[in-house]
Symmetry: C2
Subunit: 446 residues, 2 copies
C-alpha cells in the first residue's frame, strides 16, 4: 500500500477505516453530498479535515470531512504517477504563451493557508497541475516574484511592464500574469497605461481559493487565461476570472475597468461601469466576444512606457474629514492627488482652502466618486462648480483606483501641467467610457 502521504488525524483515520490507499477510487458522502474521485496525496503541513480527490475532470478537490462523512472504496484505480509527468513536446502550430508568476494564491500548489506553500510555476509543475494547458498553448512559465500583491509598488509595475514588453517582442502569442487578487486591478490598470498598444493579449489571472480547497478556481481561471492569451482576437490588457459562482463561465474584464468587489467569492472581480469584453466558456474553450470594438491582434507594435511617479496620493473623503490630510500631501512634496469624493464629485467646503493650496503648489487634483458606479458631474451643484473653479479636474467615470494609477503613470511621462491635465481628461486605455446620448426621462445609465 502506498503511503498515505500528508494525511493525519481525522482524515487519516477515515481513509484507514476504509482500507483505502493513494490512487484508489473513493466515494465520500456527507449529508446528501457525494464526491467521487481518486485519492490523492497531500503535501506536508495540511489540516486533518480535508481529503483530496482527483475528479474525473482532472481537477483535484479538497473535500471537507466531518464525523458524518461516509467513505467507500469503489475500486483500486490506476495508481497516479506521483513523479512529474514528462513535459509535453511543444506541439507544432500551437501558440506560444508565457506565464509570469508574481505570487498570490494562484501561484501556489497546495495548503497556502498553512504556510506550506509550493510555488507551482515551473512549466513542468503547471502541466502537472493543469494538464489541459498543453492543448491550449505551448506554455513557458517564469517566476518574477513571490509577493503578496498588497506589497506591490510602482517599481514592480515598471518591472512587470518592461518584462512583458520584452516577452511580446520575442514573438509570443500572448502573456499571462498570475498574481494575488488584492491589488490585481491596480496592476492591470498600470499595464494598461504602460503598454497601450500591445499587439497581443496581456492576461491577468488569479485565484480566490487555493487549490487545496474544494471550490478552488485556480485551474479553471488558468485554463481560461492561457486560452485567451493564445487565441483571443484582440490585443491589450485584460483580467480573466470567474463570471459567477458556477465553474462554467469566466469573464474577460478590461484592465482599466476591473475591480475586486468581494473579499472571498470566486466571482469577486467585476467590470465597473462597463460590460466585460468577453466570456470564456470553460467546457467548450470558446471565447464569446461581447465588445467588438477592440484593437485587433497584431495590429500594432508594443510600445513600453513603464515609468510611474509614486508621489501621487488617493484620499477618500468622509464627513468631518480634517483637511490637514490634504495639507500633508502638499507638505510632503506630492505631485498629484486623487480625491474619492461623494456623489457626483463633492467634498466638504471645509476642504476647499487646502485643495486650493495644493493646486497653487502645482499639484494635479482629480475628482472621482466613492459611489464607484456612474460618472462625476461637477456642473450640477454649486459645490462642484466651486471645486472646478479652484482647479479640481473631474475625471468622468474613472474608477478611483484607476485614476490613481493613471495619474502615477501620467506624471511618470511629463511634468508639464497642461499636458498632465490633457492626458488625465482624455481616454487613453478604456478608462473613460463614452457618454451615452442623454435621452429625456431615461438618463439612468450615464
Amino acid at each position: 500500500m502506498q503511503e498515505l502521504t500528508g494525511y493525519k488525524g481525522q482524515a487519516l483515520g477515515l481513509i484507514k477505516s476504509a482500507g483505502a490507499s493513494i490512487g484508489d477510487k473513493l466515494k465520500l458522502a456527507r449529508e446528501g453530498e457525494i464526491v467521487e474521485g481518486l485519492l490523492m496525496p497531500r503535501v506536508a503541513g495540511g489540516d486533518d479535515i480535508h481529503i483530496v480527490l482527483k475528479l474525473a475532470t482532472g481537477y483535484n478537490v479538497g473535500v471537507k470531512i466531518s464525523e458524518k462523512t461516509r467513505i467507500q472504496v469503489l475500486g483500486t484505480g490506476v495508481k497516479p504517477t506521483l513523479s512529474r509527468p514528462p513535459m509535453p513536446n511543444a506541439t507544432k502550430g500551437l501558440p506560444r504563451v508565457t506565464i509570469f508568476s508574481t505570487g498570490g494564491t494562484i501561484a501556489s500548489r497546495v495548503d497556502y493557508r498553512t504556510g506550506a506553500v509550493e510555488a507551482a510555476l515551473s512549466a513542468e509543475d503547471l502541466y502537472s497541475f493543469v494538464p489541459e494547458l498543453a492543448s491550449e498553448a505551448n506554455v513557458t512559465a517564469k517566476v518574477l516574484y513571490s509577493l503578496f500583491s498588497e506589497n506591490f509598488t510602482t517599481k514592480h509595475w515598471k518591472e512587470i511592464a518592461t518584462t512583458v514588453s520584452d516577452e511580446i517582442r520575442s514573438g509570443v502569442s500572448g502573456v499571462v500574469i498570475a498574481q494575488g487578487t488584492d491589488t490585481l486591478g491596480y496592476c492591470a490598470a498600470a499595464l494598461s497605461f504602460a503598454l497601450q498598444s500591445a499587439p497581443v493579449p496581456i492576461v491577468f489571472v488569479a485565484a480566490q481559493r487555493s487549490s487545496d480547497r474544494p471550490s478552488s478556481d485556480a485551474a479553471t481561471n488558468l485554463i481560461g487565461a492561457v486560452s485567451v492569451a493564445a487565441k483571443a482576437p484582440f490585443g491589450g490588457v485584460v483580467a480573466v476570472m470567474h463570471r459567477w459562482l458556477s465553474d462554467d463561465t469566466l469573464s474577460v474584464h478590461k484592465g482599466t475597468k476591473v475591480r475586486k468587489c468581494h473579499t472571498s467569492r470566486r466571482d469577486a472581480f467585476k467590470s465597473i461601469g462597463a460590460t466585460p469584453l468577453a466570456r470564456f466558456h470553460v467546457e467548450s474553450r470558446k471565447l464569446e466576444m461581447l465588445e467588438r470594438d477592440l484593437p485587433a491582434r497584431g495590429s500594432s507594435e508594443v510600445v513600453c512606457k513603464p515609468n510611474f511617479d509614486d508621489r501621487v496620493g488617493l484620499v477618500k473623503f468622509y464627513p468631518d474629514m480634517d483637511p490637514g490630510i490634504i495639507d500633508w500631501h502638499v507638505t510632503n512634496g506630492y505631485h498629484g492627488l486623487i480625491l474619492e469624493g461623494t456623489g457626483l464629485g463633492h467634498v466638504s467646503a471645509r476642504c476647499y482652502p487646502s485643495i486650493e493650496r495644493a493646486v497653487k503648489d502645482g499639484i494635479f487634483v482629480g475628482m472621482t466618486s466613492q459611489c464607484l458606479w456612474g460618472r462625476v458631474d461637477m456642473n450640477v451643484y454649486s459645490t462642484g462648480i466651486d471645486l472646478q473653479k479652484i482647479g479640481v479636474h473631474p475625471l468622468e467615470d474613472m474608477l478611483p483606483e484607476t485614476a490613481l494609477v493613471k495619474l502615477m503613470w501620467v506624471l511618470g511621462q511629463t511634468e508639464d501641467s497642461h499636458e498632465v491635465a490633457e492626458m488625465m481628461r482624455k481616454n487613453l486605455a478604456g478608462e473613460i467610457s463614452p457618454r451615452r446620448l442623454e435621452i429625456s426621462g431615461n438618463d439612468e445609465d450615464h
Copy 2:
C-alpha cells in the same frame, strides 16, 4: 391668457407657437416619445429647454425639448390653482409623521440645478407638492438645515439624533429625515448607533433627481418614506429609495448596510452584504417584508446617545501608499483609525511600523475591506495574522463607512480601550451580519 411664467427662449417659443397657455392640456412629441399633461409655470432662473407638465398622476415632470419636439394643444383644461392648496384637516385615525428637512435635492422644489432653490418643506408645500401624503399620515414638516450633505459633520448627526429622539418622545408614529444623497449612508449609520432602541421607524429619504426633471424620484420616495414611517411594523433606522429604474417599487435598507453606489441613477442606494429589509410597492402602498427578525414597533423606549468623537479617520490603502499618512493621524491626536485595506483585510508590510506606533499610542485601529462586499478574514494569510499581532481589529463585514461612523460613536461613549474593542467587534445595530455556516465546497457567500 395666463402669463407663461418662467419660460424663455426655445421653450417659450415652442409654447407660443402652439398658442398654449398655463393650464392647457398639451401633447409633446419627440422622436416617438410622447408626453401629455397640463402646462405648468416654472420658477425664475430655469433653462430654456424644459417644459414642465403635470401628468395625470399628479406629478410635475420637466420634458426636455429640442428642435424635433412637436407640440399640440389637446384642450384648455381647468386652470391649475397656483396658490397653495388649503392644508388638509388632520384626518382622525391617521398616524402622525414628522418630516425633518436637512437639505439636498429632495428638499427643493424646482430648478435646483440653476441655484433657484425653493425649500419645499413646510407642510403646506409638501401637500402641494405631493398631495398623496395626506392619505398616508398627518404630516408635520420641520426644516432643520438647508445643507449639502457633504458638509454634514458629527455635530449635525448629534443634533439630528437629539431632535429625532425628542420628536419620538412626543408620540409620533414615525420620523422621516429628508437629506442629500451624498452622505446619507453615513448619517443613517450614525443614527442607527445613536438611537439604537427606537420604537418607531426613522426613515431616511432623498432624491437623485430634482423635481423639475422628467425622471424625478422625489415624490415617489417621499410617499414611500412617509408610508413606511407611519405604518411599518418595526422600529429602527432605515433608508427608503428606488429599488430599480422603474417607479413601481422602493427598497427599504437597513441604516448600517446602505451605501450610495451610483452617482446619478435613482436606484443608487444598495444594501451591501445584506438583503433589503422590505420593499414598498408604490401603486398599492403595500409594504412587503423581506426580513422578519426586526424589533417590533413599540417594543422599546427610545434611548438617545448622541455623542460622536470627530478624531477618527478613514484611510483607504493603495499600492505604494506612504505610511506617513498613518503617522499623521498619530501626530494629530486621533483616537481611532479605520483602514480600508485590500481583499480579506491587508495593507503593505511597509505600513506595519506606523500602525504599530498608532496602536502603542492608544489609537484603536480597525480593518475593513475596499472590496465592500464580503467579510474580512485576517486568519487566512500571514499578513493578516501579522496585523492582528500588531493590534489591528478585524471588523467582519462592516462597511468601511459604517465602521468609521461606529468608531466615532463608540469613542463618543467610552475612552476605555477594552470597552472600545468589545463594542467595535459586537453587532450593535445590524452592522455585522451573522456568519453563515460554512458548507464544504460552497462557501462563496460568507
